[in-house]
């Protein structure tokens, strides 16, 4: 049956063990959070020997379930000091799962400082190889080199120089089907944990592996049929629907029209150059340039939404994948940059050096506000990443440590973070439910943790008025549903379909139940999600977090943001209701 791989970086030993009972029915974020809550001392130094990096595919990852190739990465975050889970698409989750591995727990601390290793996992087991000649290399080159050495098609998990320097905005990269460094478990600096443990990369080859055991095949097939139908029917997720046609960046014009598209370090809600960087613009440019460019690109095999893209240079050659809504916002509108080629350069730079694009863009915007660069200085932004972060200069170490650290270095007040993590591309003073999620999520300011944009702006999953400040129940419901989806292995974008089409939701939970051999129904989703949140809240509390940390930055209470000129007026009492369960 499935097993757990425990990797000790002190002894350089990797051994398989039986999955302990407390972890048996979890996957993805449920698995990483339960392991972290049980095995990581909440007061440990995140870069020290007692933190762990937990890697887990979702419950249905590696099966025939559609759109289910997510890998969760968890532990204690060096950026926030809270528990952390961030997840990515790409090739890793299916290959880990098909080797019969439920999760990988990386522990310990290398004896030799500065020495880096490659962990290779295949049907024969796990071995350590020296990674000396990969040290300092960017992830695009690392991906190419590892396919040359270990076989075309292997999954690669890795860190760029930022992770090697243990910078708190270092993300963990997963290769995409074209083997570019395009997918990231970006948020929360888990790349620094991987770097502190001396692990440069992990290669996973599932050739000859046992596949994923499914307890009830008949029920499983019926369940994924329901989910597939819902996904293909819903306007957001269907073929030639919004996501498939324009990608997530379809949201740029929508959020801008809503006046909630944070511009120039959250000083405004509309960007006058949004038209130049929107999903519409990207699609037009991609189609015009031809070559390898495409929209409707799947980030992992078996995805039926296919919302990703490959952006090109004017001659049609590969430039970067992927231009997501968040990345384009962070390195574009939030920095006052209105050119997609510049933004693609900045996304490539983050992917190569190993930074989370959301945090990087928020960091650079705060640095701009602090006078380091002018807003709109794309060239200056590129130099910060390529000259400074990549080489670990003192300025690079400031920038690579994220938004709050940089805000302190430059004496900036308008620092849009919660628990040390920067806010993503939705203005909380306009869309108050997402503000509640930012404030109360166990992860720090995080949009995927409880994506209330859907019912507020997008009217998915029922209606809600974005300006109404009573959002506690909405955020709680979304946070717990999301915790379940993050556990399942399904991509969060399935949420659009399943929260609106009941058969889709049934299919999602019943497919998980069929894999594990449980009796879960839709009524179990909330409680399972709450169990994950409770474990995470418990960890955070023990790590010293109180309700005082479940707040938005002060400036959002008194500084109205144009064009709506609203402030964040959700009361502290209401914020505290979210986790009162």
């Amino acid at each position: 049956m499935s097993k757990l791989l425990r990797v000790n970086m002190t002894d350089l030993k990797a051994a398989f063990e039986e999955v302990p009972e407390p972890y048996r029915l979890w996957g993805g974020r449920g698995f990483t959070s339960m392991v972290t809550a049980r095995e990581v001392p909440p007061n440990c130094h995140p870069l020290g020997p007692n933190n762990k990096l937990v890697i887990a595919p979702g419950i249905v990852s590696g099966t025939a379930a559609p759109t289910s190739g997510r890998t969760s990465f968890g532990g204690k975050s060096p950026l926030t000091g809270t528990i952390k889970e961030s997840n990515a698409g790409g090739l890793s989750s299916q290959k880990i799962a098909r080797l019969g591995i439920k999760g990988i727990i990386i522990e310990g601390h290398p004896e030799e400082a500065g020495k880096f290793w490659l962990l290779k996992i295949n049907k024969d087991g796990a071995e350590f190889l020296p990674a000396t000649d990969l040290v300092g290399k960017g992830m695009y080159e690392v991906c190419r080199t590892l396919w040359e050495r270990h076989g075309k098609g292997v999954a690669i998990i890795g860190i760029g120089p930022a992770g090697e320097y243990r910078l708190t905005n270092a993300g963990i990269c997963v290769n995409d089907p074209e083997n570019t460094a395009g997918r990231y478990a970006g948020r929360g600096g888990m790349g620094a944990v991987m770097g502190a443990k001396g692990l440069k990369a992990i290669v996973i080859d599932d050739t000859g592996g046992p596949g994923v055991a499914v307890a009830d095949q008949t029920r499983f097939r019926a369940a994924i049929k329901k989910l597939t139908e819902a996904s293909l029917k819903h306007d957001v997720t269907k073929k030639e629907g919004a996501l498939n046609t324009y990608g997530t960046n379809v949201l740029a014009n929508i959020m801008n029209e809503a006046g909630g598209y944070p511009t120039r370090n959250f000083s405004g809600g509309r960007f006058e150059m949004v038209g130049q960087i929107s999903g519409e613009a990207a699609r037009e440019i991609i189609q015009k340039r031809g070559g390898v460019g495409t929209t409707g690109h799947p980030c992992h095999p078996g995805c039926i939404i296919q919302c990703s893209n490959i952006f090109t240079y004017p001659d049609g050659k590969f430039h970067t994948s992927v231009l997501e809504y968040e990345s384009v916002w962070a390195l574009g509108a939030n920095c006052g940059i209105g050119n997609l080629d510049d933004i693609a350069d900045l996304v490539w730079a983050c992917n190569d050096v190993g930074l989370d694009t959301i945090e990087a863009g928020a960091t650079i915007a705060v640095a701009m506000e602090g006078g380091l660069l002018e807003f709109g200085d794309a060239q200056g932004a590129k130099e910060l990443i390529h000259e400074d972060v990549r080489h670990g200069t003192p300025l690079g170490r400031i920038i690579g440590n994220g938004t709050e650290f940089t805000g302190r270095a430059f004496g900036v007040v308008r620092v849009p973070t919660v628990k040390g993590q920067a806010m993503p591309a939705y203005e909380p003073r306009v869309v108050k439910g997402i503000g509640v999620t930012y404030a109360t999520s166990t992860m720090g300011a995080d949009h995927t943790a409880g994506y209330t944009i859907a019912p507020e702006i997008l009217s998915v999953g029922g209606k809600a008025d974005p300006f109404n400040p009573q959002k506690a129940e909405l955020s709680r419901a979304f946070q717990s549903a999301t915790a379940f989806i993050d556990t399942s292995g399904y991509c969060l974008f399935d949420a659009f379909a399943v929260l609106d089409i009941p058969e889709g939701l049934e299919g999602m939970v019943e497919s998980c139940a069929a894999v594990l051999g449980t009796n879960w129904t839709v009524n179990d989703i909330g409680p399972l999600g709450i169990e994950v949140l409770k474990a995470e809240r418990g960890f955070n509390e023990a790590a010293g977090f109180t309700k005082a940390h479940d707040r938005l930055p002060e400036f959002m209470k008194y500084e109205p943001v144009p064009p709506h000129n609203t402030t964040f007026d959700v009361t502290d009492e209401d914020l505290d209701k979210v986790h009162a369960y």
């Binding site: 306007d235 324009y246 029209e257 006046g259 038209g275 613009a281 997008l458 974005p466 300006f467």
Partner: protein, 84 residues
């Protein structure tokens, strides 16, 4: 005048129909429902997906009354990120 911002296939209704700049047109109605404004544009209801009125999304926007000085945002069905 009611100011209308257009997206996707609907941009063809504006003089500036390129995607890189705002595609804006105006309807000279002192007051009317959003449905009437869309009709005045010569557009079928099926050609319109999500509608914003003065920067606020409203699934029941078609029945809302708008006046001179108001701003409408009209998105086509293939940009529908909102399910009504």
């Amino acid at each position: 005048m009611i100011e209308i911002h257009l997206y996707g296939r609907l941009r063809r209704l504006a003089a500036q129909s390129g995607v890189h700049r705002p595609s804006v047109t105006w309807v000279d109605l002192p007051e009317g429902t959003v449905a009437q404004v869309i009709e005045a544009l010569g557009v079928e209801r099926e050609a319109v997906g999500n509608i914003f009125v003065n920067g606020r999304y409203d699934p029941a926007a078609l029945d809302q009354t708008v006046r001179s000085g108001d701003r409408l945002g009209l998105f086509p069905p293939d940009m529908r990120m909102l399910y009504v």
